[in-house]
């Protein structure tokens, strides 16, 4: 389920925390990074690996917005619509995204290429409006810039 490298990392991390339960978030991050999402099977794996109940892991996965228990599209676009972005035109960005990708907020395209999510403040208020794709932030968006980002992603 996890690579040798990550298993080694987990052993290292155990030294930093007095309980294995504290590794629930780090381990879930590793699973999601390797597999793209956290399946029920992998939650059971994490529970066994750390010696905590499966229900606990399930509770954690469902609590945190960034953990996904279902597969997402190849490119996960997260667009901020909170106040600072809204004041600088995020509505227009959302409209363009929906039109261009043919999906609404919270949806995944049929070809599994795109997932579009509306997110809360990402700490990009001074460079609003913004969206992120994975860990990458795209800021000071304009319609032209947005088109460029999407065409670049299409080629990937």
């Amino acid at each position: 389920m996890l690579s040798e490298e990550n298993l080694k990392k987990i052993e290292e991390l155990k030294k930093s925390y007095p309980t294995t339960q504290a590794l629930v978030l780090p381990v879930l991050w590793m699973i999601q990074e390797e597999h793209g999402y956290i399946s029920e099977e992998s939650m059971k794996y994490a529970a066994q690996l750390l010696g905590v109940p499966f229900a606990h892991v399930l509770g954690v996965v469902t609590f945190y917005t960034m953990f996904h228990s279902k597969p997402l599209g190849k490119h996960h676009i997260e667009v901020c619509t909170n106040v600072s972005c809204m004041l600088r035109g995020s509505e227009k960005i959302v409209e363009l995204l929906e039109k261009r990708l043919g999906i609404g907020l919270g949806e995944t395209s049929k070809d599994k290429k795109w997932t579009l999510s509306e997110v809360e403040c990402m700490g990009s208020c001074g460079t609003a409006p913004m969206l992120s794709v994975g860990e990458e932030y795209h800021e000071n968006l304009t319609p032209e810039k947005l088109e460029q980002i999407l065409s670049d992603l299409e080629l990937k």
């Binding site: 930093s16 925390y17 007095p18 309980t19 339960q21 504290a22 590794l23 629930v24 978030l25 780090p26 879930l28 991050w29 750390l50 905590v52 606990h56 509770g59 954690v60 609590f63 945190y64 917005t65 960034m66 953990f67 619509t81 909170n82 106040v83 600072s84 809204m86 004041l87 600088r88 997110v119 809360e120 403040c121 990402m122 700490g123 990009s124 208020c125 001074g126 460079t127 609003a128 992120s132 860990e135 990458e136 932030y137």
Partner: protein, 423 residues
């Protein structure tokens, strides 16, 4: 003003440049002092927390028990998720060693064995930058065992969050580090008595920690003269919304809001008038544009103006802004981020949002304004943590200061005369 937290020095994020600029000098100096002398210096400097509550940092440090057999911990709060706030991100990117040095000094002063820097999950890129800096500091012997030939040993660990605003609340943050859902804890017991894994713990904001090396290097008297006496020091003001030059500006506390907006952030696009500002992140009370004269970015001044300094995330809204839309969006945020533990917050935030959506569509009902106020008043003060208050304050202040905006959106029946004429 000279900049101390985010100075314009190319390459400052690297340990070589940081050291060449006098970096880690404060930590060396602290190691030569008694731990309680370090705490005393921070206390006398008057440093107050930069995460929103403005609590005196030195005083907080004194709450940590001296005689204990348990390990002691620091949590550095880098969960930065308050809408309108984007300052800590600058520190991770441009001056991570200042944060590390401040944390080390705090660890020495309180006898801490491990410090956890909790960073929001969305900041993946910045977490890697911070981890690189921590790795370099370990390699140079600033972190680890028998640091710089002393008997002091301590560790720093970065803990990645996973997208929950509530984890910026200190007790929720601790539960998250312990590998649980981020539910806030009932206080007391306070973290200094019963924190991480039941051990003494102190939680400080990222920016707060960055002020500590300045105090140790230059002395409390020097520090206390920056900005206003009751809330001294440099402060990172993040300005966003309708301004020409949004961004993070390092300024002395007590800087007038109008000076931030017009002098530093280049004024409002199209020279429009300011309708409203939110001075310190979405949880702070909204102010009218005509209330800004004399209001300054410090705890006392903004309290007098009927708001608070919060995270100093200033959001500016011009005369054309639809404030109902703004408050509906803010309420949606708190509804989404409420952890669900306390009924008034879990149910109330969603209720507020639904009513505000009605107003947004121009379908507000007679009595809705009072209903909003009633719900907000019943959330405030009735929850375990401050998220409930943070959801109530923007609604209360918006109604108090912009009641006319709500009244305009109450759905009115067509006038009787026209109805009769139509019939």
């Amino acid at each position: 003003m000279e900049k101390f937290i985010l100075p314009d020095i190319p390459g400052l994020h690297t340990i070589d440049v940081y050291e060449s600029q006098g970096g880690y000098k404060a930590f060396r100096k602290a190691l030569g002092m008694k731990p309680e002398e370090v705490t005393d210096e921070v206390k006398k400097a008057g440093l107050r927390g930069r995460g929103g509550a403005c609590f005196p940092t030195g005083l907080k440090w004194t709450f940590m028990p001296k005689q204990t057999t348990k390990p002691k911990y620091i949590c550095v709060n880098g969960d930065e998720s308050e809408p309108g706030t984007f300052k800590d991100r600058q520190i991770f990117e441009f001056n991570p060693h200042l944060l590390i040095e401040g944390t080390l000094i705090g660890a020495y002063a309180m006898g801490v064995t491990t410090s956890f820097i909790y960073v929001r999950g969305e900041y993946g890129r910045w977490i890697r930058l911070l981890e690189k800096a921590i790795g370099d500091a370990y390699a140079r012997g600033y972190i680890g065992t028998s640091i710089l030939g002393s008997t002091f040993s301590t560790n720093i660990v970065v803990h990645k969050g996973a997208g929950a605003y509530i984890c910026g609340e200190e007790s929720s943050l601790m539960n998250s580090i312990e590998g649980m859902r981020g539910y806030p804890r009932v206080k007391p017991p306070f973290p200094a008595q019963f924190g991480l894994w039941g051990c003494p713990t102190t939680i400080n904001n990222v920016e707060t920690m960055c002020n500590v090396p300045l105090i140790i290097n230059n002395g409390w008297e020097w520090y206390s003269k920056i900005g206003v006496p009751k809330h001294p020091g440099p402060i990172l003001v993040g300005i966003s919304g309708h301004v020409n030059k949004p961004g993070v500006y390092e300024l002395p506390t007590g800087v007038p809001l109008l000076e931030i907006i017009y002098k530093h952030a280049g004024g409002v696009p199209g020279d429009k008038k300011i309708k409203a500002v939110i001075p310190g992140g979405s949880s702070t009370m909204i102010m009218r544009g005509d209330q800004l004269e004399g209001a300054c970015m410090d705890a006392e001044s903004l309290k007098a103006a009927g708001s608070s300094v919060g995270t100093a995330g200033l959001i500016v809204m011009d005369e054309d802004t639809d404030l109902i839309k703004v408050i509906a969006r803010i309420s949606m945020f708190y509804y989404h981020e409420s952890c669900g533990q306390c009924t008034p917050c879990r149910e109330g935030t969603g209720w507020l949002w639904k009513i505000l959506k009605r107003f947004e569509k121009g379908e507000g009902r007679v009595g809705d304004i009072d209903l909003l106020m009633d719900i907000a008043n019943n959330i405030e003060g009735n929850t375990i943590c401050a998220l409930g208050d943070a959801a109530a304050w923007p609604v209360q202040s918006m109604i108090r200061r912009f009641r006319d905006e709500f009244e305009k959106r109450v759905k009115t029946s067509p006038p009787r005369v026209e109805q009769e004429a139509a019939a």
